[in-house]
Amino acid sequence: MKPLLLSHFTATSCIGRGLEQTLDALRHNRSGLAPCTFETVDLATWVGEVAGVDEVCIPPHLADYDCRNNRLAQLAFTQDNFAAAVQAAAAKYGLQRIGVFIGTSTSGILETELAYRRRDPVSGALPDDFRYATQHNTFSVADFTRHYFGLTGPAVAVSSACSSSAKVFSSARRMMAAGLIDAAVVGGVDSLCLTTLYGFNSLGLTAAQACRPYDAARDGISIGEAGAFALLERAPAQLPDDAVLLLGVGESSDAYHMSSPHPEGLGARMAMQAALGAAGLTPGDIDYINLHGTATPSNDAAEGKAVAALFGATTPCSSTKGATGHTLGAAGAVEAVICALTLQHGLLPAGLNTRQLDPALTLDYLLANRTQAVSHVMSNSFGFGGTNCSLIFGRAH
């Protein structure tokens, strides 16, 4: 594929608002996970809650879109002058020539969960202030983003569970290559809600402490929330050395089970292989892999086997979910931004909370930060329904 430029990017998660705080947290191995005090949740689990989301003010003309998920989206895309970059791109290309591709798994479902507590005792009706289209619907966050920037081109929410905001890069890449658009706002936003907290708990997949990816005693995920965005443009001939490019995307389906990965990681391996093929690279060219690494026993085992089969045991890798938590539909975009920071700063971030690496998984899993020159990195995102996506990013020079 033709490389695409990430001309601007930003991320907001429990480890920080924007790039500076995110990079600082990674440099100092700071996790944002804490025991869950979200809403009325009574589960013994840890979460990565973003501070200050409830204080965000949605512009009055977009009041119908007001919900926690869109507040988090706005908090995220107003960091690092990202909004100004989108406006500059709109002036350059035209409002209709910029696509919007946002990954989310639960969008604003929290509003519906809360509305169900306020049903009319006689009729069972939802309260009058409940707005399905602009709060609950999966498209809400993409539509909000589109309206916030006044964009009038193609827009879509990608919702393939935890691969959602990795796959946005693929959809945007094709639409740009087809010539329908000149640039794309891609990203992912997912916010804490009861469906995912009680849902993952029902599957026995939430850890009782901060999640420990690739640990021998790992016992599940810590759910996080985040918003992360990138502005994709065609790469010009001249670029600064530290410009970040999307070089490859690979996707596959497990065709195996709704909530368990293929035990040998076959689908994961196919996605990684396809990404390498699209980028024209070999496993030896990859300097760091940001693993999906959710810290469930089955995910890390399947992914670890797939990575070892393809890369051997010498490619440095880690999961940053010990810091951010598993931000579900936002994870692909958050970890794409972490990969961009890795490339620009030569910082390979350690996986946090992991004490005893799983001896069955023979990888160069980083338990401490490493600093070195980095040319190419891979990011993995896999999800329920057996959906897999791998991205490869590289420095311009």
Binding site: R97, E113, F139, P154, V156, V158, S160, S202, G385
Partner: protein
């Protein structure tokens, strides 16, 4: 307005909606040779799924598997070879209602099956499990513009990746109280196999582009009601032109001020 045109051949159609049971039976209705009668959509049991999954599969899974298989069979293709674009304006409405009801009750314990069926890509996941297809699936939602978004995504795959693609658009109903907020009247699904090359079985070629023109409406009042009421049924003007084997240009609904023009040439 954008003048880029994307071209593909339609090699197979799957259709299931109120009074529209499969493409062969729906064709004379959409061609105007037979009267349309709005009857509740009949969803077949997904025979390809293992018994346990079959029992637990909701309307959106049944609809997706039925229309997808009809289109792939009509195109005489192996589903394991086809990347897929799955678009839906919502997930499994009944399942969503049950989860919200449980979470609002004193006992918030939701079942694991309910939870994994709550993801927007559940039906897409079941498609890959049922067919064994390990090909990528793009899983999309654009509220009322979901069919248009899926069509654009599928067309860019056909043109850019130069491969045949299966597009499936499925919408199902919500029970009350969500039905009041999102009054989708019945289940409706459409699937199209889109190919970059003409084959012996190609039905028509389509050239699509973005336009500011108004979306076409349907003369039959009941069909027009369907088109307006269900996002996947926004595809009906295209299906009608295909049924009539008509050479011409139609406009499909997408967003306000941005719609999709389709120039159709029967093969």
């Amino acid at each position: 307005m954008n003048t880029i045109t994307l071209t593909a051949y339609i090699d197979g159609i799957g259709l299931l909606g109120p009074g529209l049971t499969g493409w062969p039976d729906s064709r004379p209705i959409l061609a105007g040779q037979q009267a349309y009668q709005n009857q509740t959509t009949v969803l077949p049991s997904p025979a390809l799924l293992p018994a346990a999954e079959r029992r637990r599969s909701g309307a959106i899974v049944k609809l997706t598997l039925a229309t997808g298989l009809e289109a792939v069979t009509a195109a005489n293709l192996d589903p394991t070879t086809l990347p897929c674009v799955y678009t839906a304006s919502g997930g499994d409405g009944q399942n969503c209602h049950e989860i919200c009801e449980t979470l609002a009750s004193d006992d918030r314990h939701i079942s694991p099956t309910r939870f994994h069926n709550s993801v927007h890509n559940a039906a897409a996941g079941y498609w890959s499990i049922a067919t064994g297809a390990m090909t990528p699936i793009s899983v999309l939602c654009a509220y009322d513009a979901s069919f248009g978004a899926g069509l654009l995504e599928a067309m860019t795959q056909v043109v850019v990746d130069n491969v045949p693609v299966l597009l499936i658009a499925s919408d199902t109903t919500y029970p009350e109280p969500l039905h009041h907020a999102r009054p989708i009247p019945d289940n409706f699904g459409i699937a199209l196999v889109l190919s970059p090359r003409q084959s012996a079985g190609s039905l028509a070629s389509i050239n699509i582009s973005l336009t500011g023109d108004a979306a076409d409406t349907l003369d039959d009042a009941a069909l027009e009601q369907l088109r307006r009421g269900i996002p996947a049924a926004r595809s009906l003007p295209l299906l009608q032109a295909l049924a009539q084997e008509r050479n011409g240009r139609i406009v499909l609904d997408y967003f306000e001020h941005l719609r999709i023009a389709v120039a159709i040439t029967p093969c």
